[in-house]
C-alpha cells in the first residue's frame, strides 16, 4: 500500500536560517503530494501541493519540487520565521483515490 516517510521528531532552528524537511513516498499509482501545516490547537492547513514532476511549487515562502525519480517532495524555506513554528505533515494521494496517507509529522521550532 501507500506510505509516506518524513523527517521525524523535532527540528530546531534559529530565525533566519534555511530549513529542509524531507518527505519520500511509496505508491504504485500516479502520486499527488501535499504538505500540511498544523499550528497548536488548530486544524491542519494546506501549504503546498503538486502532481507535476520536476516542477517547483511555492507558497508563503515555502517551496517544494516533486521528483518522481526519487519519490521525494521535500519542503524548503530559505529563511524561517518565528511564526513558522508548527507541526508539518507530508501526505500522499493518487488519481481516483480519495484517501490521504500522512507521514508521522515533523515539529519545526524556530527560536529568536
Amino acid at each position: 500500500g501507500d506510505s509516506v516517510t518524513q523527517t521525524e521528531g523535532l527540528v530546531t532552528l534559529t530565525k533566519g536560517l534555511p530549513v529542509m524537511l524531507n518527505c519520500t513516498y511509496q505508491t504504485t499509482y500516479s502520486p499527488f503530494l501535499f504538505w500540511y501545516v498544523q499550528h497548536l490547537n488548530e486544524a491542519p492547513k494546506l501549504l503546498l501541493k503538486s502532481s507535476t514532476d520536476n516542477k517547483r511549487t511555492e507558497h508563503q515562502g515555502f517551496y517544494a519540487t516533486l521528483h518522481k525519480s526519487s519519490s521525494s517532495f521535500h519542503l524548503q524555506k530559505s529563511s524561517v520565521q518565528l511564526s513558522d513554528s508548527a507541526l508539518y505533515f507530508c501526505a500522499l494521494s493518487h488519481s481516483g483515490y480519495n484517501k490521504l496517507t500522512f507521514g508521522k509529522g515533523t515539529v519545526l521550532l524556530v527560536s529568536p
Binding site: A43, K49, N98, L100, T101
Partner: protein
Amino acid sequence: GALVYQYPRRTICKSGTSMRMECQAVGFQATSVAWYRQSPQKTFELIALSTVNSAIKYEQNFTQEKFPISHPNLSFSSMTVLNAYLEDRGLYLCGARDQGLSYEQYFGPGTRLTVL
C-alpha cells in the same frame, strides 16, 4: 471560499458512553468526506471514507459498529464514537473535498474528545 466546520470543538464523555460529532462543508460540494483521528503523539489515522452514492469504507481497525457515519447530503456528515474508552481520545478531523474539482481536502478544526 471553501470552509469546513466541525462541532463540537471539544467534548468530554465518560468511559462507556457515546458522543456524536458533526462536519459541515460550506462553499463547495463535499462529495467525499474522510474522518481521521489524531491520537496523542501520533499522525492522522484514517477511520473511514464516505463518498456520496457509495458505501462507506472503513479502514482496518475501525468498524461501523464502533464509528457509525452518516453522509446524507453534499454538505453534511456526522460520526458517532460508540462506547468510548481511553484509547478513543484524540482530535477527530473531518476532511472533505469535491471529487469533480480538486484533489485537495479541506479540513475542519476538529473535535477534541476527552474520555474520563
